[in-house]
């Protein structure tokens, strides 16, 4: 006897036949619902929800075939086996029964053993069907939940990561909408001193773990870029954070790009991404291969964050991509590869941007639609005056409160000169002054020009004319690196002094260094005569910037002591210094 008692509907217009069958089935331990014809069967089916239906083929009012069709329709997705009771033996009649939705027949006169076997067999099938459809339903529901969660997570992620200045006219990028769940991240931020910082990352793994790892990277990137930290500083911080939070075996391949449009200088760090490309205005390519381990593998003391410095000119274009570009496959299973990229860049088509050339090349090769690819590609155009959206500080209700009368002195010495930049800290102190908050860019430029001059020309004694040729440029930076290791006995001292003035304030910055100084009395730019490109120190753009941005600049001592005065007014419009 079956373990489960089933509810079985029997429809037969012959009272005797129905009685015999009913007794048989009750003896098997099942519950019976009786119907006297097809119409009655359909009604009773609706009321009683039986598990199995036994239908006489020929009945008055509605025959078994018609009833079977109705019952199957009522059952919907539920599997309700319908077994025809028949004394018919013509093949055609039996086929008609099955076509009407019947699952099997029982021939009269009834055989108890066969009835029992068939009921058990259909019960098994019925239960299997139930299980399958329940699981199917669960999977469907899970999948819907997952997609919904991803959409919400994406929104949360967007709030943290936002697009920064990715929408600047000189940036082109492609990333699939849920790319963070493929482990790809792309951030761009304007820098307080002008220029931009861009980070493209590719986490190992997919889905939630990759997306979670991406969150702190976004926070660190945007938080530090805004405060004026260098790309190398941001890399060190990201590496340290990822090393701490990611399990061994998970890491982030990435490239950091720091662009200074004023100096025509690009700094690039590539750890584990395919070659970055600089396409010169005349089409010549320069490859920037990965020279470092990915982020999150090495402990901080072994991590190498030095960025490669490259001189660039307006019209040059930088391309950085994830390995999704190289790993795009065609229907023969071949990889797009470095050769594919090279081909697109060698023959981009006239007037076509290399970015478009690669993207179209990959799509043509893989035959896939843009939405289904798993790649991120970003291009940066080097221009003279990029329209970088400025760093927008949240307008705070306490914009008028804050320190306005203060003085501080900060000195860094010895080896610290080589591995620490005081600029973010000094900028932070200055930006506490309410009126200076919207002038972060100018203040940063002033501080960094003073600092870089003191460090590179004062302490390190690097001749700035080296920077005027492409060869010298490289030499300058490698020499800079070498000399930074020998700064014993040296210091750079900043004294900041802020006072209130009617309608605004005055910031006085004194920068002194331990270097040899220079003959400022006979310097053409300082004395205000002569052309701008001569002189051993403060040769070019640096001094010009300082003069333009500040209200007054004074050299003292042997030329190793500079003082600038920067006045600001509440009423004056924020931003550039041209209105002064």
């Amino acid at each position: 006897m079956s373990q489960n008692s089933l509810r079985i509907l029997i429809a037969d217009d012959s009272d005797t036949d129905r009685l015999i069958l009913q007794a048989l089935i009750k003896r098997l331990g099942h519950e019976v619902i009786e119907a006297v014809d097809g119409l009655d069967a359909v009604e009773k089916f609706g009321e009683g929800q039986p598990d199995i239906v036994l239908l006489d083929a020929l009945m008055p009012r509605m025959d078994g075939m018609e009833a079977a069709r109705h019952i199957k329709a009522l059952a919907g997705e539920r599997l309700v086996p319908v077994i025809f009771l028949t004394s018919l033996s013509e093949t055609e009649d039996l086929v008609r029964c099955l076509e009407a939705g019947g699952d099997d027949f029982l021939t009269k006169p009834y055989n108890r053993v066969i009835i029992e076997a068939k009921i058990n067999a259909f019960d098994r099938m019925r239960r299997m069907h139930d299980t399958l459809s329940r699981q199917h339903q669960q999977i469907r529901e899970r999948n819907r939940q997952l997609l919904e969660e991803q959409t919400i997570a994406r929104r949360v992620f967007d709030n943290v990561a936002h697009t920064g200045c990715l929408d600047s006219p000189n940036i082109h990028y492609h990333a699939s909408p849920l790319s963070v769940f493929n482990g790809d991240v792309l951030f761009a931020s304007p820098l307080p001193a002008g220029g931009m910082l861009i980070f493209l990352g590719d986490f190992t793994g997919h889905g939630l773990p990759a997306a979670i790892g991406a969150m702190p990277v976004a926070e660190i990137f945007y938080g530090m870029a805004r405060k004026g930290f260098s790309g190398a500083d941001v890399l060190r911080e990201i590496n340290q954070k990822l090393k701490l939070i990611l399990p061994t075996g998970m890491f982030c391949c990435g490239a950091m790009v720091e662009a200074d449009f004023k100096l025509g200088q690009l700094k690039v760090w590539n750890g584990g991404l395919p070659e970055a490309w600089v396409i010169r205005a005349d089409g010549d390519p320069v490859l920037l291969p990965s020279r470092h381990l990915p982020l999150g593998i090495l402990p901080p003391e072994q991590f190498e964050s030095v960025m490669e410095t490259l001189q660039v000119w307006p019209g040059d274009r930088l391309l950085v991509m994830t390995d999704g570009v190289l790993e795009a496959t065609n229907d023969r299973g071949e990889l797009f590869g470095l050769a594919g990229v090279r081909q697109c860049l060698d023959h981009p088509g006239s007037g076509r941007h290399p970015f478009d050339a690669i993207l179209e090349g990959v799509r043509r090769f893989s035959g896939k639609a843009a939405e289904s690819d798993d790649l991120t590609l970003v291009a940066l155009d080097i221009t003279d005056q990029p329209e970088v959206p400025s760093v927008q500080e949240q307008p705070s209700p306490s914009a008028l409160a804050g320190p306005t009368e203060w003085r501080c002195e900060y000195e860094i010495r010895e080896r610290t000169l080589g591995d620490f930049s005081p600029l973010p800290l000094l900028l932070h102190i200055c930006l506490e002054v309410p009126g200076l908050r919207t002038r972060g860019g100018e203040i940063y430029t002033l501080l960094s020009e003073l600092y870089n001059n003191a460090l590179e020309h004062g302490v390190l004694q690097l001749p700035s004319e080296w920077k005027h040729s492409a060869d010298g440029f490289g030499r300058y930076y490698s020499e800079r690196q070498a000399r930074l290791a020998r700064v014993d006995g040296h210091y750079i001292r900043f004294s900041l002094h802020h006072t209130r003035k009617p309608g605004g304030g005055r910031l006085r910055v004194v920068c002194e260094d331990s270097g040899a100084g220079f003959d400022f009395r006979n310097h053409p730019l300082v004395s205000g005569r002569g052309d701008e490109d001569r002189g051993p120190r403060y040769a070019g753009r640096g001094l010009l910037l300082l003069k333009r941005l500040s209200n007054n600049i004074t050299f003292r001592g042997r030329g190793n002591h500079v003082e600038i005065v920067y006045d600001w007014n509440f009423s004056a419009h924020q931003g550039d210094g041209d209105d002064r």
Binding site: D202, T204, G205, T248, G249, M250, F251, C253, G271, G272, L273, P274, P289, S290, R291, H292, L293, P294, I297, D323, L335
Partner: protein, 101 residues
């Protein structure tokens, strides 16, 4: 079996051979290959002569092996890579962490 292990004649070098694709699908087998190895094992050779492809999760697995083998003091050499595999290892600068032959 995509992953085969054997003990070299010196009795302390475990040779792990990976056939075909070295990716996330081999994760468990790769772990088992060294976690259940003879405790006398001190050196590892990852033989990639029959490895056609290697992805970033395989790089992750190599890092796990490196941790298991003692981190900075691990003695692991990766051998016989084809040019595609070699390229992926060098893009990620894994020469800094492994002896790649």
């Amino acid at each position: 079996m995509p992953i085969q292990t054997s003990l070299a004649e010196d009795g302390k070098t475990l040779v792990i051979r990976i056939e075909g694709r070295f990716d996330f699908s081999t994760h468990q087998a790769f772990r088992d290959s060294y976690e259940h190895a003879d405790p006398k094992v001190t050196d590892y050779i990852v033989d990639l002569s029959d490895t056609t492809y290697l992805d970033s999760s395989a790089l992750g697995m190599l890092l796990l092996l490196r941790d298991h083998a003692g981190g900075d003091s691990a003695r692991i050499s990766i051998e016989n890579c084809n040019s595609d595999v070699r390229r992926i290892l060098s893009i990620s600068n894994f020469e800094q962490l492994f002896a790649i032959k």
